[in-house]
């Protein structure tokens, strides 16, 4: 049976030591986010996740959500109680504006909380995650009436949110959207249409559900330029703000899914449902992209969270499971067999899981810090640069974390052998639960296209500067530090490949977009690996300053994990580079009919 213990030591390392947390505390509004407070918050969060969320993870998977006649949906046992406790403790509004009842803590902290939630119970995480997305869209684009009416309730968790994009004929291509909205005399709208795959579309956790719905106005131009965003509550609020009349929105079915079974994935029907426009008419995609971009980092963190759980479970099992003897002779003569941890391939697997998971945690925090800088930095240049960085890194984080989320949970299952395939051991759930993250919020192939098609060429490569310049100058200034040689050299090599590949894709992509698209997935992976290489090299730099100090074991393990990353994982950049440079011809010259 798998267990979970929040990686607080590593989180503190990333938050305070790898990056300088004082620059985040120095931002206006974060004066109270002192190191002591941050550590206390993380410890409390760990308790909730370990003691409340994790225990109902497997039972929730077994039981799933239930659909009832009349469109009601109930969540698995324990979810309601757990949700109430979680909301009352203020976790939902951890980084929300104090004006609406939030705690006003940095996004860098709430990202760490999200990781813990996803590690312990990802299905539970979907409910609170969607509320955060709705909060952000209303906060960014809603008018004051909508903000004062809805944001406090979404912050307290009394109400929850959804994102209603997908329709049966319209997935990635939102231009095909059909749901329509007609204006009422009082400035509201009547929304009519069918939506599918709506996470948290209906459930019993909150007294009201706030749907953010994409729809077309009567005079809307065709395609994505004619989409507007509407707020459609399940219950129309009374003048006193409490839920009143039932609105014309109904859950018509629940999907039966591969994973995240405790998350209610609903088919929703809107029938003349009353709603209000968020932002400007026909500019719904713009608002949607704000939600999506933030949500994409959140989905990436789902992959990260499950990677951590899988790693912990695999390590625990590898220590306990006695099978065979070490190939170099018995290591534990007192036992009937050696623990499988002695075997090189098991160790390779575990270190690979660990190096990627810790690296991804560092990257998630790196990006989340820039969310705070973008929001609150006092000078405009810093805010603009932070936005460039977030724009660039978001598709990478989403696809890289979730592709590895699936790979790592699968590696964890492999360590368990046949027992991993048995449900009650819990690790097969991680594999199933992680799979969706590669698909939703923009499939990973779409993330790769976003990277090569939008983010790389934007403003003639300006977004790239926020990554390439710091990495280049770090390499230059550490190239001659002897202790860092084993780390700087492989990084410099991989970074050179990334530079060449980027230049190449930009050039060939200009002439033939198929070339850039054909290279996009490998390029995104290459980018992610180099980013982790940089973060690992910097983590080593920090760890080496702690020689013979407290916590020696932790820092030694950092350096050792970094070596594994540099020597066993980062070299994959060579094969990715070769594949990228090979061009699109293998796939584009192949006749359609021969497939």
């Amino acid at each position: 049976m798998a267990s979970y213990s929040a990686p607080l030591r590593d989180m503190r390392f990333v938050y305070h030591e790898l990056f300088d947390s004082s620059d985040i505390s120095a931002l206006p509004g974060f004066e109270e986010a002192t190191p002591d407070l941050i550590d206390a918050v993380l410890e409390e969060a760990a308790k909730v996740c370990e003691n409340e969320l994790f225990p109902i993870n497997r039972s929730g998977d077994e039981e799933g959500c239930r659909y009832h006649q009349g469109g009601e949906v109930t969540t698995p046992s324990g979810f309601r109680e757990c949700y109430r406790a979680y909301a009352e403790a203020g976790w939902i509004g951890l980084s929300s504006d104090p004006q609406y009842g939030g705690q006003g803590l940095p996004a860098a902290i709430s990202t760490l909380l999200e990781e813990m939630v996803c590690s312990s119970n990802i299905a539970f995480g979907t409910y609170v995650g969607l509320s955060r997305g709705a909060y952000r869209a209303i906060a960014a684009f809603g008018n004051d009436t909508l903000k004062t009416r809805y944001l406090p309730k979404l912050t307290s968790g009394e109400w929850s949110g959804t994102m209603c994009l997908t329709e049966p004929q319209c997935g990635t291509d939102l231009g095909l959207l059909r749901t329509r909205a007609e204006p009422n005399a009082d400035g509201s709208y009547r929304v009519t249409g069918n939506k599918i795959f709506i996470s948290a579309g209906e459930h019993d956790l909150t007294e009201n559900i706030i749907h953010l719905v994409l729809a077309r106005l009567p005079d809307a131009p065709a395609g994505v330029r004619g989409i507007s965003l509407f707020l459609v509550p399940k219950f129309l609020p009374n003048p006193d703000g409490d839920p009143g009349e039932r609105n014309g929105v109904l859950c018509t079915a629940l999907e039966n899914k591969m994973g995240i079974k405790a998350s209610a994935t609903c088919a929703m029907s809107f029938d003349q449902a009353t709603g209000w426009l968020i932002g400007s008419a026909h500019k719904g995609m713009q608002a949607m992209f704000v939600m999506m971009n933030d949500a994409r980092l959140g989905v990436g963190v789902q992959g990260l969270g499950l990677s951590e759980s899988a790693y912990q479970a695999a390590v625990e099992y590898a220590r306990e499971r006695l099978q065979g003897r070490s190939v170099t002779g018995t290591k534990h003569p007192d036992k009937p067999a050696d623990p499988i941890l002695v075997h090189p391939d098991i160790r390779r697997t575990l270190l690979t899981m660990r190096a990627l998971t810790e690296g991804n945690r560092a990257m998630a925090t790196w990006i989340a810090r820039h969310l705070d800088l973008r929001e609150r930095a006092e000078d405009e240049t810093t805010r603009a640069s932070a936005n460039d960085f977030v724009q660039l890194m978001t598709p990478i984080a989403k696809a890289f974390f979730t592709d590895y989320g699936f790979d790592i949970t699968n590696m964890g299952l492999q360590v368990y052998g046949g027992h991993g395939y048995i449900r009650e051991n819990g690790v097969e759930q991680y594999v199933r639960d992680s799979r969706i993250a590669q698909i939703y919020e923009g499939a990973n192939g779409v993330q790769a296209l976003d990277l090569v098609g939008r983010k790389v060429p934007a403003h003639t490569g300006r977004y790239l500067r926020q990554f390439f310049h710091p990495v280049q100058s770090w390499i230059e200034s550490h190239a001659f530090t002897p202790a860092l040689q084993p780390f700087v050299m492989p990084l410099a090599k991989a970074f050179g490949r990334l530079q060449l590949a980027t230049g190449h894709i930009a050039q060939v992509g200009l002439k033939n977009p198929n070339e850039a698209a054909a290279a996009s997935s490998e390029y995104l992976r290459l980018f992610g690996l180099v980013a982790l290489g940089y973060l690992w090299a910097r983590m080593v730099e920090v760890a080496l300053t702690h020689e013979n100090g407290a916590d020696q074991g932790f820092y030694d393990a950092k350096v050792a994990t970094a070596r594994h990353y540099m020597e066993r994982i980062l070299p994959q950049t060579g094969s990715l580079f070769a594949a990228i440079m090979a061009g699109a011809s293998t796939m584009m010259d192949f006749p359609d009919e021969a497939f």
Partner: protein, 775 residues
Amino acid sequence: MTDIRKVGVIGAGVMGAGIAAHMANAGLPVVLLDVVPDGANARNVLSDTAVARLLKTNPAPLMHKRNARRIVTGNIEDDLNQLGECDWIIEAIIENLDAKRDLYARIETERKTDSIVSSNTSTIPLEKLTEDLPERFCKDFAITHFFNPPRYMRLLEIVAGPQTRPDVLQSLHSFADQTLGKSVVTCKDTPGFIANRIGILWMESAVRFAFEDGLTVEEADAVIGRPMGIPKTGVFGLMDLVGIDLQPHVAASMLATLPEKDLYRDLHQPSTFINQMIETGFTGRKGKGGFYRLNTESGKRVKESIDLETGEYHPSTPSQLESVAAGRQGLRALVNHPDKGGRYAWRVLSHTLSYAASLVPEIADTIQDVDEAMRAGYAWKWGPFELLDQLGPAWFSNRLQQEGMPVPKLVTAVGEGNFYRNQDSTLESFGHSGRYNTISRAEGVLLLSDIKREGDRIAGNSAASAWDLGDQVLCLEFHTKMNSLDAEVFKVIGEVITLIPAKGFQALVIYNEGNNFSVGVNLGQALFAANLAGWSEIGKSVKQGQDIYQALKYAPFPVVGAPSGMALGGGCEVLLHCDAIQAHAETYLGLVEVGVGLVPAWGGCKEMLLRWMNNPKHPQGPMAAVGKVFEAIGMANVSRSAEEARDLLFLRPTDNISMNRDRLLADAKAMARRLAVDYSPPTPPEIRLPGPSGRAAMTMAVRDLCKAGKATSHDQVVTSQLAYVLSGGEADPTVPVNEADVLRLERNAIMALLKTPGTLARMEHMLESGKPLRN
């Protein structure tokens, strides 16, 4: 033949003054006369103010301010006798038949034998102008119709009368071609001659159909502009430019003179909308606004467009028409597109092109005269018959028939063929006789486009090519977008340098027929590489450029640069390394790198230092030259003509200027052949630079400018790097340095600047807005 050495212009309005200015540009003394206004004390007030205005007008009618001194002002009361010395007398007074005829009578008594008289009329037939005038006058008279502004519009339409001496025509033709640089088209004595006859119908149809088809002005101009190869002002922007109030006069004059069954008569409708605009003073750029206006009420400059239904202004929004995007695939894709832009394009083109095709031979002997008139007079990229070839004459004819429109005889006659064809590498055009005729070029006209059609490429890739010009002269042509320079271009230059001696060539001409010789380095590539922190790659390409330009300079054969249009940054630097320059008169040279936060680093700093140091007219000593170069590069000075480029030493006294664009290549080739006789490459110079003390003077000057608010903080960063290069770094003024030392300083400076956010922001801003960022 009349040898034209002095010119008289009567009428000091916009056209008369502009013509006088261009005569002065061509180096001729000019007499400019106008009437004496009633009660005026200063009797030359009209011509004097005209000359003063010439010096202030933008774009400048004069290629150099000092050319104004060639214009002698006067009035027709006191100074008519001055016309006695003029070989060519041009009348450019108001379009009033009696006034013109009165004037001719007075001119006739003053002018010398064999002098030529011409009118710049655009509306009055020659027949009327010369009716009952003495034979001597009629023999020496023609219409010479210049286009506004005369310096910049290449077209000159010439109309001869039945009595005009062939000599007169020949003199005007060769003078206008060679000395004025005009593209001369011989016209018949028909209303509007060629360009305006077609142009006026085109404008009429483009405006009328925009109203009828419900297009916005932005949409109409987007359809009319780039897809049809017409300047991006389109039709409404053009109306604003020339003055909306001109339209009723133009229409009246055309209606008064056009044949009875002319398409224009069917098409023309007085527009109450436009009349109201004129009545209320919305006459275009010169009035309160036009179809567009710049609204500065909010303190910002907001471009606004008029709503063709309501007459209200609103902020301009770019056209979203899919047909315009489809038009990138070709003209037929545009007119076949089902949206309103596609339908509109077809309506405008079907009328305009049919009209043009129906007018040969009525208004012109050949189709190429019609095409040339529209290209040179209206700045169309393609003439009507070239546009017809793009659509396919047979396809065009079919569609006209389907829609019940008459098919012009010439279109029927050409059948399945095209109006132009390439027969055995010779260009031929379809004649109204029903046969194809070879298109021949005048003597002294050499076009690379002809060479390319006939010859094989000697070397090249997608960025540049080398062509055999004959007589052992090779031509290097850039053909990237805007002729920007990159590694691919350098690859070809490298090849050319080895190929010339290897294949028995003796000289190189660097030339192309793009709108601009070269806008310099491919800025997008450079910025992208800088954003990627690709420092070693960038360093290599800077060094590669320096090496290749040095190799050109010291090659064992002469190199002649032959620019036209803009030659900026790296495009200017390549010219600075040539042995000689044969420049088109309209060449705009400049080292403008500071505008994008950089310094010239392909040897531009080095070459400019050498030019100023070797300039005998300037004080000796290292600092004087350094100061001049610092100013020219630091202010990003761009010459507004080839003549001005001499002042900046971009051109040396030994360099030449060609007035006619079409003669540039032949002139450059001739120069290259002259230089190839006993050619020996230059000797590497020694350079004395002032070092740190000289640098201090320059940086202090910039600091003062900064304090005075005339320079920005990043200007200071950029110019301090420039000062470092030009002063020779840590050089000792008593110890000479060599070219390689200065080149190394250039490299260091540009690499340092590329790492500053200020420079990267400037580069990005230039790429995205086309304007420099003042940060």
